[in-house]
């Protein structure tokens, strides 16, 4: 276990790097996912088709391939960027599909009766959306969205395996691969790093769920 304590700085940097990627991707994927969810529930058929196609294609495609396609495919058509950008973009594209489904299922979880009641007291479309549907949908969206976020943190390890330096996964590569430190403690340290992010996130999610459940 000396490896971990000897390289605490490296691990801490890795943790920070992972958090950095995750924060960036979380924001971007949330925005893109909500837009896509808007497409999927839109009354405009072509937009719905785009949303459906996006989700079907991206969800069934391994993240690894998305990442490879970004990093090695895009430069072929003159789109250049750093691995960090490509990695974050790939993870965003991938995660957005899941955000979209979470948001859509949240809207779907709102009872149609609520919308009908809203309409029948004379609320307009935007009023019923703002005052009745979204406030309830947001509650229903929190648990699945939280799970998407946790999955995203774990998927950021794939981005790491793929060559973005400076995050948790690459710590294992540096210590075990390049420096030849024993694998078990090195990987144990990396797992610990992810758990440091994921376990509190899970607890936070649980607390959020509970809070919103009580509030109704």
């Amino acid at each position: 276990m000396g490896v971990i304590t000897d390289n605490l700085g490296l691990y801490a940097d890795g943790l920070l790097g992972t958090l950095k990627i995750c924060a960036l991707v979380a924001v971007a994927a949330l925005v893109l996912g909500i837009v896509l969810a808007g497409f999927r529930v839109s009354p405009v058929p072509p937009l719905r088709a785009v949303g459906t196609a996006y989700v079907t294609l991206v969800r069934n495609c391994p993240l690894t391939i998305v990442l490879f396609a970004f990093a090695f495919g895009l430069p072929e058509v003159g789109v250049n960027g750093s691995y960090f950008i490509f990695g974050a973009a790939g993870l965003t594209i991938y995660t957005a599909a899941f955000v979209c489904e979470a948001v859509r299922s949240g809207i779907g979880a709102v009872d149609t009766g609520q919308a009908e009641a809203a309409r029948s007291i004379g609320l307009t479309f935007s009023q019923s959306l703002r005052l009745v549907i979204l406030p309830q949908a947001i509650r229903a969206v929190i648990p699945p969205l939280g799970n998407v976020a946790i999955a995203m943190v774990k998927n950021s390890a794939i981005v790491g395996a793929f060559g973005v330096g400076g995050e948790l996964y690459s710590v294992a590569n540096t210590l075990n691969g390049a420096r030849g430190e024993p694998a078990l403690p090195v990987y144990a340290g990396v797992v610990l790093g992810y758990l440091i992010i994921i376990i509190p996130a899970g607890l936070l999610l649980l607390a959020a769920e509970k809070r919103f459940r009580v509030a109704r």
Partner: protein, 251 residues
């Protein structure tokens, strides 16, 4: 108990047809509800009672025929439709109170957001309405904290808060525990006495007999009989109605 004077025609349906895919739920429905009238719709499950109700405030679109409210055709969309809906209240079988709002907030949402009444005035009126339906003490409770009977009475108060010209009730007591049924029916009977125009889908034959001005009997998407309660219950003209009454009145 039926009121004597018959008001102006308020809701007029003429030749209304409604399809769900290939299935025809309503066949050439023509029906007039007069101002101040209490119309009770009865009929077996799946006969189209709810559909008829829901067409009146366009929760369902119709495929043929016309619906007029207070002399004007039912608007198809937009603000005009929203305004019309505010004039025709609706009470659902499953209450449909806004789950994230207290009883009082449920009641004042329409007045403040649609009619733009100042919040204070709306709250005052809201509390009065909650008192009127007997749940004044529960103004601050969320729907999940209320019994079914209480929820349904809040829903009635919510409909009343818009000062509608008519209220549609779609099996308002079917989702209630038996002991709460009476309290909701009492509130409805009170409204009827006060001259509210009401269209009521219900299986409560006692209420129908007591409170209705007119009974409509539906089966298979058609209106088979229409008449005063005493005529319908004591001498139904069709075999379908006789069968229905026999089955439902056994217990």
């Amino acid at each position: 108990m039926a009121k004597s004077a018959r008001g102006e025609p308020l809701i007029v349906m003429a030749g209304v047809e409604k399809f769900f895919g290939a299935f025809q739920a309503l066949h050439g429905i023509s029906l007039t509800v007069h101002s101040g009238e209490v119309l009770v719709i009865v009929g077996p499950s799946g006969s189209g009672k709810s559909t008829l109700c829901r067409c009146i405030n366009r929760l369902e679109t119709i495929d043929a025929g016309r619906i007029m409210i207070d002399g004007e055709p039912l608007p198809e969309e937009g603000r005009a439709l929203a305004r019309l809906r505010a004039e025709v209240g609706m009470v659902f079988q499953s209450f449909n109170l806004f789950a994230h709002k207290t009883a009082l907030e449920n009641v004042i949402l329409g007045p403040t957001k649609v009619k733009r009444i100042p919040r204070e005035a709306a709250e005052r009126q809201g509390r009065e309405l909650l008192d009127r339906v007997g749940v004044g003490a529960k103004a601050g409770s969320y729907p999940a904290q209320l019994s079914g009977g209480q929820q349904q009475r809040v829903a009635i108060a919510r409909a009343l808060a818009m000062e509608p010209k008519a209220i549609l009730f779609d099996e308002p007591t079917s989702a209630l525990d038996p002991e709460y049924i009476a309290e909701v029916l009492d509130v409805m009977a009170g409204l009827a006495r006060d001259g509210m125009t009401m269209v009521v889908v219900t299986h409560e034959m006692g209420f129908a007999r007591r409170a209705a001005d007119r009974i409509v009997f539906m089966a298979d998407g058609r209106i088979l009989e229409e008449g005063a309660p005493e005529n319908f219950f004591d001498s139904p003209r069709t075999q379908r109605a006789r069968d229905f009454l026999a089955r439902i009145l056994t217990n």
